[in-house]
Symmetry: D2
Subunit: 177 residues, 4 copies
């Protein structure tokens, strides 16, 4: 069974990304993956700004077969918190796929944060999956508990999830049931 | 007298950016500016990850006529710490110039972090100054106390500093003596 | 009277950008500017691929006080034709403002092409205007003759046009009536 | 035997990229690949600017198992010619690897063009290979006939070529002898 780490990349009060990350997690489980939802807030709360490596994240990342990064967009870029977590490991990413899920309160679903993250992820040795998901007006699209409210996202979710798991299989020779 | 805020964007142990930021600060003072050197580590140490606004930074930024961001490059992007500080204000940047200074241990001087930061800074309402400085092999280029060791940077520093102050004058009608 | 060059950046058959560029042109005229609409297809049709400079474009650009680039997005980047035209001049751009107008057949209005173009334009010495316009589903938004069909763009157009002309005034000391 | 297409992305008189592309081509052959060197100037000379698809390039790309894009950097972005060629196909790229080789007359080897191209290539369905090559001061590094003058590039070339061919093997199950 392939193991996916979903990184919840917002640490802000009232974050819409939390519901989105829960939805993604549940859907990937339905598609046959074992999934760990990791909260950037938890990862960073004991991480000194003076340090680079984040051992807790390295441990989590080393066990992943693939990643999903759920990220809001702040001022046309990625949040500092997402980048701090990603910068906290390196070898653990080698030749694993990563899919991006963008989140925004406005209409564009974090699309520009994803573009900048793709540049970062190539350097991290990750394979950026072509398919992506964008949750504009995210609080209306997904409830905080992960319930999908805007049902038009569901078919896209299946395409995205299957593309990610197909990449895991391709790169690790896991067989998805 | 124009007032420039120099943001030291690395928070890591042994950061080469600190010497570079000290050098930039001293040089801008020689060129006739009042300069405040701001350490991202100080700004962030009491900033909860759950909050967006950083009142201490907003106060500092509101008094600036222009900015210099001294930033290393991590994995082809900007450090999380730099982005957290920049995201901590907004209106305070409106129509002020920002110059970028890249820092790296390798040969490329943080050039890709600057490119991503320029996208962010347009959205922040800042004017991205064309001229930039790149300190590759930064520990050999500048001592921790800000002494320039690699003297070839000096002529470029004058071009960079004057370009920034010219933008401040253009946008605020300050007269540089 | 300030002089604005609007670059129509698509050269493809059936281009939606043409109607958008006509609309932008007419609106900037209403706001008090003299406007030249320049078609990338015309600029490039006699330009050998072996040459860098494009004298016809250099002549046009040298007389501009500011620019608008109307650009579609192809595969998350800018069209080759837009880049060829922009690369055909250099000194002619120095400290002039540029506003971006994105065009797409889908919902995102060319937003990612604009982000890449902003990186280019800083290097060209242009000042990237913060405000932008995005025409998603562009053929439904503007008719080929420039008539606005999707009226919700009108208030944004006024903000965009005034911001651009305000930058022209700021940088050239023209007075807009 | 894996088949690699090397795209020579400069079309300008006196292009340094030509020698670099010849060097890359010969080295990939030594590593066991069949290689076609494709000149963007040839591809584009009969391509009308009004058309999107480039049938000649689609035919070439469909037969490739992997790609190398040799690209200069113009004004911090990719050349229009490179983008026009890449935009001329789509399905032909699906899940094939692409390696980037940057070329510049200055010290940075086209590094920023590569970053923008990686964003484009993810959308094209290509897998961006982590390893890259940068030829700063390119005319001193490689002769027009492809002879390597700056021998320090040789070890990097082997790493780059093997990484690309390893990706081809991984994605196509070709066995490299």
């Amino acid at each position: 069974m392939p193991h996916i780490v979903v990184l919840l990349g917002s640490t802000r009060h009232g974050r819409a990304s939390e519901g989105v990350a829960r939805y993604i997690t549940a859907q990937l489980q339905i598609l046959g993956a074992s999934v760990t939802l990791v909260d950037a807030l938890e990862i960073l709360k004991n991480h000194p700004l003076t340090e680079t490596d984040i051992p807790a994240w390295m441990e989590i990342a080393s066990r992943a077969d693939g990643f999903v990064v759920v990220s809001p967009e702040y001022n046309h870029g990625y949040p500092g918190a997402v980048k701090m977590v990603l910068d906290g490991a390196y070898d653990e990413y080698e030749k694993k796929p990563v899919g991006f899920v963008g989140v925004s309160s406005g209409p564009f679903g974090g699309i520009r944060a994803i573009e900048q993250l793709r540049q970062v992820c190539v350097e991290l040795g990750l394979v950026a999956v072509h398919e992506q998901m964008l949750f504009g007006f995210a609080k209306k699209a997904v409830a905080p508990d992960g319930t999908l409210l805007e049902l038009t996202h569901q078919p896209r979710m299946e395409i995205f999830g299957k593309a990610l798991l197909n990449w895991v299989e391709r790169l690790t020779n896991y067989k998805i049931n």
